[in-house]
């Protein structure tokens, strides 16, 4: 893949991968590692992709899978915490809800981010991550319930 194509790909998909990697790892350094791995792998596999839809699904799945193996490595004891939300670009008035989502257990963070930020439907999430739809549904609803407990009584509208 030519360098200018690669640069274009990073421009087009970079934010999506970065934001998902942060949601998955809740840790800037880990998210950086994931970001690099995902794109290097993406560049190597460019010839496989026909549509942007395909690319998007592949990138999401890859980001989720790459951050999975981080959890299981001996290095996951590294506890560099997520810098305050402001440092990564979150506006102050939204930092409470952002921190709340990122404090949730990993599996809930993932589906919440994909559903509420990337606007994927339950079926799309299930298909992309090779999960059962029932599992996605239940993780979404449990994640929201946990979030509401943390944010104490805020309605869905304020999330």
């Amino acid at each position: 893949m030519q360098q200018d194509h690669r640069a274009k790909a990073v421009e087009q998909w970079g934010d999506m991968v970065w934001r998902l990697a942060l949601a998955r790892t809740a840790n800037v350094q880990d998210a950086e590692d994931v970001f690099q791995e995902v794109f290097l792998r993406f560049f190597r596999n460019e010839q496989k992709f026909e549509t942007d839809e395909h690319r998007k699904a592949w990138l999401i799945r890859c980001t989720v899978n790459r951050s999975k193996s981080l959890f299981a490595s001996p290095w996951q004891k590294r506890t560099v915490p997520l810098e305050t939300a402001a440092e990564i670009g979150v506006e102050d008035e939204y930092s409470e809800v952002y921190s709340a989502v990122l404090s949730l257990p990993a599996k809930y963070r993932t589906v919440i981010h994909l559903h509420y930020y990337e606007d994927l439907s339950v079926a799309e999430i299930a298909q992309t991550l090779h999960m059962a739809e029932g599992t996605v549904k239940s993780q979404l609803s449990r994640g929201r319930a946990l979030l509401q407990n943390i944010l104490k009584g805020d309605t869905d509208a304020s999330l």
Binding site: V10, L70, W75, A126, G134, S138
Partner: protein, 544 residues
């Protein structure tokens, strides 16, 4: 979630990171390695078999005595194992043959001495074929190997996706889950108790097929369905969604029916067929009352449960006037996603209800899903197949496991049901000390079921088995549920428990939470269908 969206909108990938990636791609040298070295393959972790669990439910229905047959020509067949379907066995196999006396298949860990047994298999149940989970050791330790592994991993995931019904069964089964768990785990207070809701559901579902009138109505009521058709669909979906036999995880629900050969011709064929097709049940026929037939039942159960429940199967026998026996087994085996370090297991004190004992504790210090309720702490440990997890729930000081069993919020969480408002979960650094445990129990279901208003089936005057047979006076004679869960790994450190609770209080970021399970606790094993495979209390981890 509109605010979350706005929050994330502000986040952009830093320019330096973009540049870094583009530079690395330019290089023709080895792919960029993170500190972890994951780019060139992946490490082979030591797999410790972590959870092994088995459970069986046996229901024996006695009835009017048919003619007692004397010893007949030995007709024999192997009780079915649950792999590729063997060639069909004819129903009336006249040819005498030697009865196998070797240990059941697939059971290398226990030497199961089986008595000669006799039974005729009336059908073969074919379980779905399952793509095997790729084994990392089979792939080369480089980029090509890793890519190939990922490909095969996706194939495996797609296969599971196909089999699963995609439904979450938590809601339809929640009434059943709550009432049965509270009833059965309360029966043996102060002692280890293990119970499989999923297994019981399957067994009672089969039973519902064979009954009619009030007998059936009471069962349907407990199972939470309006009619038999709905139940059948639910059961089949549950069975398929839970099924795993992919070389990485074993989760199999095995059902069987044991008929009395003296009643041959008196069973409703269509009911038998439904049981075989919709409940994946193996049907056997033999001389009820003959120890050789008992031996066949025991062998089938031991085979399905990999020898784990021999202590409980040994005593099983079918009465001469048997109408039908229902045997249902569940077997589960999975590795932890992250094993405990064997070198860090140390003996320590566990406070059982009857005194302190010394037992091996495993230790882990890492990031985990940690939950606080109003009167308990809990962690969730994942298995390699992330559809499965074990929940460990420790009552606060001064609270008993019985208190938690009576607490709807705690139960809701333990059973994988809805999240009540009193609960907070976070990904936290946890220092966990967990005893290795091997707990088992046998429950008399009759008492519990009667307390749950299933009683007609136990009384010869009221039991109605007309869907199965016209044999009068059939009723449920024995109703046993036995289960065992073994959890092992090893781990690091026990420390004093200093968690101070306030409802909803969350730990400060960065402060490790210490969770030491050195007094009676609850656990559950949750699976993909939203229905727990096992629930139990550990009062004495070494069952001594």
């Amino acid at each position: 979630m509109h605010r979350y969206k706005k929050a994330v909108d502000g986040i952009h990938v830093p320019d330096e990171l973009k540049q870094k990636v583009l530079q690395q791609a330019e290089q023709t040298a080895k792919p960029a390695k993170s500190i972890k070295g994951t780019a060139s393959g992946y490490r082979l972790w030591r797999w410790q078999p972590v959870a092994v669990a088995a459970c069986l439910v046996v229901l024996l229905v006695g009835g009017a005595i048919g003619l007692i047959r004397g010893l007949q020509d030995s007709q024999s067949a192997n009780p079915e194992t649950n792999n590729a379907p063997p060639p069909p066995v004819a129903a009336s196999n006249e040819a005498p043959s030697n009865m196998p006396t070797s240990a059941p298949q697939g059971d290398s860990s226990n030497d199961v001495e089986t008595a000669p047994y006799t039974a005729v298999a009336l059908n073969t149940v074919s379980y779905p074929t399952m793509v095997q989970h790729p084994n990392k050791a089979d792939y080369s330790d480089d980029q090509t190997g890793y890519d190939a592994y990922l490909e095969d991993l996706h194939t495996w995931q797609e296969n599971i996706e196909e089999l699963s019904s995609g439904q979450d069964y938590t809601e339809p089964l929640s009434g059943f889950l709550f009432s049965t768990t509270q009833e059965f785990l309360s029966q043996t207070e102060g002692q280890n108790t293990v119970y499989s809701p999923l297994n019981l559901y399957m067994a009672l579902s089969m039973l519902a097929e064979t009954t009619a009138g009030d007998s059936q109505a009471e069962l349907l009521n407990l199972l939470g369905t309006l009619n038999l058709e709905e139940l059948r669909e639910l059961t089949k979906g549950l069975w398929l969604t839970n099924y795993r036999a992919d070389g990485q995880t074993d989760a199999v629900l095995a059902n069987s029916l044991w008929l009395n050969e003296t009643l041959q011709g008196k069973y409703n064929e269509s009911t038998l067929q439904t049981l075989a097709e919709d409940h994946y049940a193996s049907l056997f026929e033999g001389p009820a009352g003959d120890p050789a037939y008992d031996a066949a039942l025991q062998a089938w159960l031991n085979n399905q449960t990999h020898g784990l429940l021999q202590d409980y199967t040994d005593g099983l026998s079918m009465p001469e006037d048997l109408t039908i026996g229902l045997a249902s087994a569940i077997y589960f085996r999975a590795n932890w996603s992250i094993p405990f370090e064997e070198s860090e297991t140390t003996p320590d004190i566990f406070h059982t209800p009857t005194g302190d004992i010394q037992t091996d504790f495993m230790h882990a210090a890492r990031s985990m899903e940690y939950t606080r309720g109003s009167n308990f702490s809990s962690v969730s440990l994942q298995y390699e197949d992330t559809d499965y997890s074990m929940l460990l729930m420790l009552p606060d000081e001064g609270i008993s496991t019985a208190d938690l069993l009576a607490d709807p919020d705690a139960m809701s969480y333990l059973l994988g049901s809805s999240i009540p408002s009193s609960i907070q979960s976070q990904e936290s650094e946890v220092v966990l000390s967990l005893p290795k445990f091997d707990v088992s129990s046998q429950l008399d279901l009759q008492k519990g079921l009667q307390a749950l208003r299933v009683s007609a089936i136990f009384d010869p005057d009221t039991a109605d088995f007309s869907s199965l047979t016209d044999t009068p006076e059939a009723f449920v004679d024995q109703c046993i549920h036995a289960a065992r869960v073994i959890a092992n790994e090893t781990q690091t450190e026990a420390a004093a428990f200093t968690w101070i609770t306030a409802p909803g209080a969350a730990p400060e970021q960065g402060t490790p939470i210490v969770l030491t399970l050195d007094r009676p606790f609850l656990f559950s094993i949750l699976g993909p269908a939203g229905v727990p495979l096992f629930v139990g209390t550990v009062c004495n981890p070494s069952n001594s």
